[in-house]
Symmetry: C2
Subunit: 396 residues, 2 copies
């Protein structure tokens, strides 16, 4: 690899189509933040919106806020903003609950509308929290539902006519490996199985095309590359063709056709709002709504392209400057999400030192170093300086 | 009833032990707010805390906030604050998810630790959303779980040896009728059934003594008398004796014994944290944490006493000044929650006019007028002026 200089990376930043986006975030001074894959940075618009929704909408309008400020419609409105980022149609996404709760909703719904089979296929290295949700569903089913965990390379071959649902995380939180959503969804459809995709580690960083792939369900969190704030609302996508066939296992008044009639009998509303359960958390949904403004007019293909280039630069620099670190994510940009991963026996110690020097990235047991690259606020210079810091630490 | 004058109610306010509490809330000018049973007012401490958690904790600490600002411990910390208000011990309450999701958790847990029976007993007039959750559980169970809805007066007689769970809302959202929690819980225990109490319409307004009554589970919302903000986090109480026997149906990484090990296998933590599922919504939990500061040092018996007096005054004034309105809640203060309810054929029209004149209260179909009385920020003068407004409207 040709020697990469500071001048060279600054030139890359100068021609970056997202160079102005960084200004839309409030990043702390003196920090290079490479952990947006874990918790996204604070968009300036969110700061203002949270003040407004708290102090004016709640504080001043009080109960009238539900009508006056459109709180009831907020989960659908914010869902529609996410829809564009993940290849969904308007009316196919709603913001609600946490990712795990939404996964439970998706699985129980897919078991209803899918084939009368009992096995859910997933990957051994799937996001642990998703595995916990699946295992609990199997246990509660009393033997009717079984979970089959296989190695990534055995997924296709495992899509037999026993499989009710293929449930995967689009991009792996540790290895950054990105599944071929199109191929796996096609194969699942051929096998008559439903698909559920967890987009937590890809939405907002990569182009995602749920409908283009024919996906049935998807879920994701709002606080990583979507920058909705710590915890915060997750979302659920249900392909339009399934929406009105589902009787939610987590039925709630916000999914009722006429919630304000307070009828004693549940009559589900049509459409994606059927997936709503309790009262929406207005402040959280408003934060995510404002956070998504930074995506206004943004081409997700271009976001994905920059994600690839940031990662390529990171890998190239590490291999030139820090040979101690072992690449643990795909070398090909199209095989990764917007995160690069390396291993090193003393990763925990190194990462603690990296953070001390103002480069925020994280460690995952036992020896994994993760660097999240947020295309909307990370620059090529961030990458350059981060690797320089690593090099200094290794030299000592 | 002796004529009640403005001077008289001002005297009542002068000697009110909570007269200083109103200053801890940001109430809009020129409004008498009698809807805290639906959405509590904004405590000043919440405004500051939300700014801080957003702009400093998230914006500046970013991912380090989880450790530095105790975000992971927040659901338990806030739960402990609620515990004192509802007669629970430290470590028996955790703040998480919405009320409906928590009800699902409580029911599925109670079915595990309770007797091997399939019927859940509830009341016909129970809060509709709670009925939706129960019905969905029954439907998903494929016949194993049945819901028995009976009239309030038939509850005790229906507590037979078929009943697995008695699931009730402590105070009725429409009629304000308060169940005798001690008697019903005792009777349920005698019948070998578990109890689940929804405290949404009583916690923060009345003394509640879950452990004194021997209750097994309870749930509630944070945005009514607890003033945690629109939507916002709910909470769940699990009596210590049951906590470690439950394998959560909604298993999540925050209920794992070592969440940050990212183990592929779920191993539940001991204690109430086992009820946690996804990543806690930090901003919502922080808002509720700050909102609960107004209860610091507050004697809930005294809160309940004031609730009773506010209601007595309201009823007395209405009966003297607005004979058109028919009392639709118990006359005895100990039979009500902190809300008075009346019916009138054209209730919807009247309530719209009341709101137009700056008295915020609400209408519930078909003919119900609800007036919420928040002992910490409503004054006796509020009640006096509200009824005066009603009187003027009826005169026209």
């Amino acid at each position: 690899m040709k020697k990469i200089t500071l001048e060279k990376v600054r030139e890359m930043d100068r021609i970056d189509p997202f160079r102005g986006k960084r200004e839309e975030f409030l990043l702390p001074e003196g920090i290079i933040y490479l952990d947006g894959n874990s918790l996204g940075a604070l968009p300036k618009a969110v700061r203002l919106r949270i003040r407004d929704v708290t102090e004016n909408e709640w504080g001043q309008s009080l109960i009238a806020g539900w009508d006056k400020h459109g709180w009831v419609a907020l989960p659908g409105k914010v869902g529609d903003k996410i829809a564009r980022l993940i290849g969904a149609k308007q009316g196919e996404v709603v913001v609600t609950e946490s990712t795990s709760i939404n996964l439970f909703k998706a699985v129980t719904a897919a078991l209803q509308v899918g084939p009368k089979r009992g096995t859910i296929l997933t990957e051994k290295g799937n996001f642990p929290a998703d595995l916990y949700v699946l295992d609990a569903i199997a246990r509660e089913s009393g033997g009717k539902v079984k979970i089959k965990r296989v190695r990534r390379e055995d997924l296709i071959a495992s899509l037999t006519d026993e499989i009710a649902i293929l449930c995967l995380t689009h991009a792996n939180y540790k290895t950054s490996v990105r599944h071929d959503m199109a191929a796996l969804t096609r194969r699942a459809r051929e096998a008559g199985a439903m698909t559920i995709w967890d987009l937590s580690h890809s939405a907002g960083a990569l182009p995602v095309d749920l409908n283009g792939c024919g996906a049935d369900f998807a879920i994701g969190c709002g606080y990583k590359f979507l920058n909705g704030g710590p915890g915060g609302s997750g979302y659920i996508f249900v392909a339009a063709r399934h929406q009105n066939k589902i009787l939610p296992a987590l039925a709630g008044w916000m999914g009722h056709v006429r919630p304000f009639d307070f009828s004693s009998d549940y009559q589900p509303v049509s459409g994606i709002a059927r997936q709503l359960t309790g009262t929406p958390f207005v402040i959280g949904a408003a934060a995510l709504d404002a956070a998504l403004e930074v995506f206004d007019g943004v081409d997700m293909e271009a976001v994905g392209e920059k994600a690839g280039k940031l990662g390529d630069l990171f890998i190239g620099l590490v291999e030139a400057e820090c040979p101690e670190m072992k690449l643990a994510c795909p070398r090909e940009a199209t095989g990764r999400t917007s995160q690069v991963t390396f291993t090193y026996p003393e990763a925990q110690k190194i990462m603690a030192e990296v953070v001390k020097r103002g480069v925020v990235a994280d460690f995952r047991p036992p020896d994994v170093m993760r660097f999240g690259l947020a295309p909307l606020y990370n620059s090529y210079e961030d990458v350059y300086r981060a690797v320089l810091t690593l090099k200094e630490i290794f030299k000592q």
